[in-house]
Amino acid sequence: MTIALISLVALAALGIGMFSVRVVRSTGDFLVAARSVSPALNGASIAGEYLSLASFLGVAGLVLGSGVGVLWFPVGFTAGYLVLLVAVAAPLRRSGAYTVPDFVENRLGSPPARRLAGMAVLLIGWTYLVPQFQGAGRILERFGGVPYPLAVLLAGTLVAVTVALGGMRSATYVQAFHYAVKLFFLAVPALVLIVAVGPAGRSAAVHPERGTRFPQATTVEFHVPAVLQVRSPVTVTVDDRTAAWAPGRHPVSDGTRVRFPRGAPVPQVRGTEELGGPAWRTPLLHLPGSTHPLFQTWSLLLATVLGTVGLPHILVRLHTSSDGRAARRAVVVTLALLGLFYLAPAVYGLLGRTVVPQLYLTGPTDTVALVLPGAVLGPPWGAALSAVVAAGTYAAFLATSSGLLLVVAGGIGHDLRTGSLRDLRMTVVLGAAVGVLLALPARSLEIGVVVGWAFAISASTLCPLLLLGIWWRGLTAAGAGAGLVVGGVSAAGAAAISALGAAPAGWPRTLCLQPAAWSVPLACTVMVAVSRLGRPPAGAEDLMLAMHVPESAEPVRRGR
């Protein structure tokens, strides 16, 4: 049933894309759609494109796994739109440039700087595609019984086909449809679950200090070796043999099945925070294996707020607005819709701790939103609601991934090599293939953490480039290029080191896990310092000022 529902949503989206507009197929149509769209519709479509599977599953899973501090993710995701509103939306729309590489060439007149910006787009696009593919793989693995590598490959193929067939034709309608799907398939089930758990369930979810216990006898199958810290004596069944566990450490090997009795406290896994413990319930970011929660929270906020500003697939959508003013209004609509939506992952995470605490023991916790309905309601309604959530998540996957894949394909085609439509189809396949190859070894990484890296890279590359390009006349091509390289290498390098688990514990690991706090200032400093060494291109000031002139049909009222 789940698979059927997923297919239905995917087909509906494809149908809107195929049939609502039949216009000339030029490369321009394919890339940026036609524009006659109201701010409200455009705002909904930006929200539809932005709310991704990865941010939804990732945040819900991380709330369960590492605590309420993860609620800062949605705050940053939303607050970024405030910066977009005041500093980027209108001037970028008025600059007439469609993509950030276009903007760079427009503003700085430098093909090499354009190429570097194009590479930054690819870096961000691929990093953000990884958690989308991971999540899509996990859904098919969980509900379709498809092995993870095959599930990721299927997901990549589906997105590539969707994009190659539809491009951005009527993407605005498709994405606005996707926002509605997400609201009804992901947020409404959250409300149903809040009602269904009853007063006792709701009270338990917001009182972690009462301790976290298994709601019923639970068999936990470990897929990775773990060390469990048991607080009070408990009688468990380890691989069909009864064992009395005294308080203390109990190592469990790979493949072990442990059955905990009903009401037994959930033991702590070494290397993570205690489920519902003091660190878990303080709203500061405590990601596993890292220290200094206050620093992590700040760094995450910097990454998510500024990262939102630099996301290439969102920037492209600003151009669907008819003018700068409409672009700003669309951003406000988006911000409202995001706030409404982001209550949902928190609900799944918080209820997940009391209802399905076993996910914390086995990890990854990303599947909590998919498992929870079944656990709360039981068959048949639980299975039905789980299917609805899975379909909604898959819609979120398609929406964001097709936007991302399109900017990646456009980036390969336009910014690195020039291309015709035919080439663009090839680049779509190439873009999806790289995303799939990166997602295959990333199976054990938490989706939410990878999302954080994509935002950190965006915040360290395209965001400073845009902000300086729009507001500082002194930016030069050399400065922009140097800043892009330094920001991109440091943020992506830190993410790679974290992904490989190569950073020593303590500050180095924390700095690599949340690089934005140092990589963003570093990139900005390099951009400004290198620009100062040279001279901005002739006419740079006028070009910068021209972006801030409102388009207006009425005669200009001159003040003094």
Binding site: A79, V86, P550, R558
Partner: protein
């Protein structure tokens, strides 16, 4: 309701890039009626607003986690059963951001009406 005509839009840069394939970068030409002094005034007004917004946002986003880290009572005081610190981050932040966005939208648009 009359609908605006649908126009397929391509960035001038993209069209240029497609048309010429190779050739040094040529940048956007300024509009013929470009008034540098008016543009400068518009720019300065928006910069003041953007600067103030970004500074305020940064201060709030630095201060709120610090407050939560230093005042543990926020985790024990409850509103409708939910710890206040959770509500601050998970719920209250969003309407606040929306209010700020609406107010800022009005101010940027007002700044554009006067020249």
């Amino acid at each position: 309701m009359s609908r605006p005509r649908r126009v397929a839009v391509v960035s001038p840069q993209t069209r240029l890039a497609l048309a010429r394939r190779s050739a040094a970068g040529r940048h956007l030409v300024l509009p013929p009626d470009f008034d540098a002094r008016a543009a400068r005034r518009a720019y300065l007004r928006q910069r003041r607003l953007a600067g103030a917004t970004v500074l305020t946002l940064a201060t709030l986003l630095l201060a709120l986690p610090l407050l939560i880290a230093t005042v543990p009572q926020l985790g024990t005081v409850r509103l409708v059963g939910v710890p206040l610190s959770w509500l601050l981050v998970g719920v209250f932040a969003h309407p606040l951001l929306l209010l700020a966005a609406v107010a800022l939208l009005r101010r940027t648009e007002r700044a554009e009406r006067t020249r």
